[in-house]
């Protein structure tokens, strides 16, 4: 049973008379308790997608078309009140920089209690007990003391834990984590990821992880979707995708990791950079950086096909599969 279904989502930014497409025909579904990840470079549209799902796209951006269904109920076009019911309670979001998410002039306790009281009707004392219990559940030592502290008194990792505690207050069905560990150190990053993973497994919460680091993704997500220039270009089970990437962009991303080259050797960089919103290339958007680009890549958008390992949109893969099929038919 799919929990969240996104179909043909198109998001654009209005710039004067221009319409700059940020997301094009993004479709995916998420089951209850499933963990998926979106990867891609800056500008691929991963964060925009996260914001679109909770309807936090602000002007000049807007959702052009498509549908987002949560438990079979359409959530595009809901009004502010209805959307507030969903945000936090059903879909919660973790952002990159925990300092920006927490209010610097309120104590941790005030913020947690506020969140509980705005969604449920209980007394302050009960709310405080719940808050402290949740702080303890994200492994914050001496939660009573932390309850009265301000965000600046906590370290980065601790702040991110507080955010995770805040999210758990309302038992959401889906957590969207947008680069949750980018601002953190490696050791803290490992702990926060572990914590997120445990929480998702324990409470049967689905997770959408947004990251540019395939190392992190491989630790957390069961399924990975690779985005490039506003489109999903490849989708498949994480481990298989990493062992045998199909799309040239996925290959490029993986090969650029330092651990993929021998020490002291040059890394395999993807030439060029992600095109900006204003000048997205025609056809397959990756063609000008792709080492295998063909003539038709320049003006046609490849369809999604199943390669046996993943679902991928690339003409090269399409031709390879066709050749294989022909060869097999020839044999028969």
């Amino acid at each position: 049973m799919s929990l969240l279904t996104v179909k043909n989502l198109n998001v654009a930014f209005r710039l004067g008379k221009q319409e700059l497409p940020a997301l094009m025909d993004v479709s995916f579904s998420l089951d209850r308790g499933e963990r998926i990840a979106f990867v891609g470079e800056s500008g691929a549209g991963k964060s925009i997608l996260g914001f679109s799902i909770v309807n936090l796209i602000s002007k000049p951006g807007y959702i052009q078309s498509g549908s987002i269904k949560l438990n079979k109920k359409e959530i595009i076009g809901l009004n502010r009140r209805q959307m507030q019911e969903i945000r936090g309670k059903r879909i919660a979001m973790i952002f990159q920089d925990p300092m920006m998410t927490l209010n610097p002039v309120l104590t941790i306790g005030q913020q947690l209690v506020e969140a509980i009281k705005s969604h449920t009707n209980i007394t302050y004392r009960d709310a405080k007990n719940i808050a402290i219990e949740k702080l303890l559940s994200v492994q914050i030592a001496s939660p009573e003391r932390r309850f009265n502290q301000y965000p600046h008194e906590l370290s980065g990792g601790m702040r991110q834990r507080v955010i995770i505690a805040a999210i758990l207050l309302l038992n959401p069905d889906v957590i969207i984590a947008d680069e949750p560990t980018t601002a953190l150190d490696v050791t803290i990053q490992a702990e926060i990821l572990q914590l997120l993973l445990e929480i998702c497994k324990k409470n049967d919460v689905a997770l959408i992880l947004i990251s540019h680091d395939l190392g992190i993704v491989s630790k957390v997500a069961e399924r990975t979707l690779v985005m490039y220039a506003g489109r999903i270009v490849e989708e498949g089970p994480t481990l298989e995708l990493i062992n045998d990437p199909q799309h040239p962009y996925t290959q490029g991303l993986l090969n650029a990791l330092p651990q993929m080259a021998l020490p002291g050797q040059r890394l395999n960089q993807i030439k060029g950079s992600m095109p900006s919103l204003a000048d997205r290339p025609s056809g397959c958007a990756f063609h000008n950086r792709c080492p295998y680009a063909m003539e038709k890549c320049k003006d046609q958008q490849p369809e999604f096909i199943h390669s046996g390992i993943s679902t991928v949109s690339c003409f090269m893969i399409e031709e390879m599969l066709e050749e294989e099929r022909n060869a097999q038919e020839g044999l028969l």
Binding site: E41, S42, A141, S155, G156, G157, M158, D185, V186, T187, I188, Q189, A190, E191, L193, Q194, H212, D213, L214, G215, I216, S218, K219, L239, I242, G252, L253, L254, A256, L257, P258, Q259, A261, P263, G264, R266, L267, N268, Q269, I270, S273
Partner: protein
């Protein structure tokens, strides 16, 4: 490889004192007014030698003093005590004028390319300022040629010259920063987390560029990072820092194949690797404490999984091991002797 020490850092200490206004430092204590100051011990006696032509990576978590080390080395903050030698000259106590000579020879690339380039200067102005400041008699035409050559060498085109920093992406800006550092033909570059603000694929581009330049111009790098995957790829030697002290110093091969200090082991286990048979994560309790007091004993005592009573009373000393690495740890030492 010739092993000429280019920079020698000995017993370097840096203490930041927190000034809380005129009256607050005075506290009433045991019938007397006492001046009380809060200090942060950022560097607690760092000893390092950087060899010519190598890449020495300094790794550690936030707050371990690695950026302070870079800034003190460059003379951006004066050290509290200790000495820094560049070849045969002592450089830690120089004034601005005397330092100019060395600024030409050692340059710095900063972490955030959005903050380290002047937004109101075009790329041309940024680079020209550096070149003409250090070469006052250079002709305009030569400067222009040099700038064009520099931009080409970092993979940017000449049309980038008249553009402002905001017109470039993060990776391109970091290339401009590198071009600026290279513009005075230094022999030593201190790079403070130059890849932290960049995407994986762009990181690869900048890292490749830095390696090319090292080969072409025989550069020496002090590379500060918390990303061990980059270190594994790029370093000649690695220094692991914790709370203002170097706790392990080893060649890259030794560090990654046989880490010895418990902190290094924990750091290595935390790298998010793609392969499934990665070592199990060693969980450290807590986070790097702020060094408000000079620690008695080992700096890592509070988070160390193997700490013994001795670690709390006596600071370990860096000792050379059989395989060429140096490590400061009582537990490891005792294991060796028993």
């Amino acid at each position: 490889m010739t092993q000429i020490p280019l920079v020698q850092i000995s017993h370097l200490e840096k203490t930041f004192t927190k000034d809380k206004g005129i009256f607050s430092p005075f506290r009433f204590n045991k019938g007397k007014f006492q001046r009380q100051q809060e200090s942060v011990y950022a560097l607690n006696g760092v000893n390092l030698t950087i060899l010519k032509g190598e890449t020495l990576c300094v790794v550690g978590e936030t707050g371990c003093g690695k950026s302070t080390l870079a800034r003190t080395l460059m003379g951006l903050t004066p050290p509290t005590s200790g000495e820094i030698h560049y070849l045969n000259d002592r450089i830690d106590h120089l004034d601005d004028n005397q330092r100019l000579l060395y600024r030409r020879r050692m340059q710095m690339v900063f972490q955030n390319p959005y903050a380290s380039l002047n937004p109101r200067m075009t790329v041309y102005q940024t680079l020209r300022e550096a070149i003409s400041f250090h070469n006052p008699q250079m002709k305009r035409r030569n400067i222009d040629e040099k700038i064009e050559g520099l931009l080409n060498s970092v993979g940017l085109y000449a049309d980038a010259m008249d553009r402002y920093p905001h017109e470039f992406s993060g990776g391109q800006r970091q290339r401009i920063s590198l071009a600026r550092a290279l513009s005075v033909e230094p022999e030593f570059i201190v790079a403070d987390e130059p890849l932290a603000a960049l995407d994986v694929s762009v990181q690869a581009q900048v890292l490749n560029l830095m390696m090319d330049k090292q080969e072409e111009q025989d550069l020496t790098y002090l590379f500060i990072t918390h990303d061990l995957a980059v270190v594994e790829h790029f370093a000649t030697r690695v220094a692991v820092m914790y709370l203002g002290k170097v706790c392990e110093l080893a060649s890259r091969e030794t560090l990654f194949s046989a880490p010895k200090h418990p902190y290094t082991k924990a750091l290595l286990s935390a790298i998010p690797r793609l392969d499934t048979n990665a070592p199990e994560l060693i969980r450290l309790s807590g986070e790097v404490p702020t060094p408000m007091e000079k620690p008695i004993g080992c700096v890592f005592q509070a988070r160390c999984p193997d700490a013994t009573p001795r670690c709390f009373s006596e600071p370990p000393i860096m000792k050379k091991q059989k395989d060429g690495s140096s490590i400061a740890c009582h537990v490891h030492e005792e294991d060796q002797t028993s």
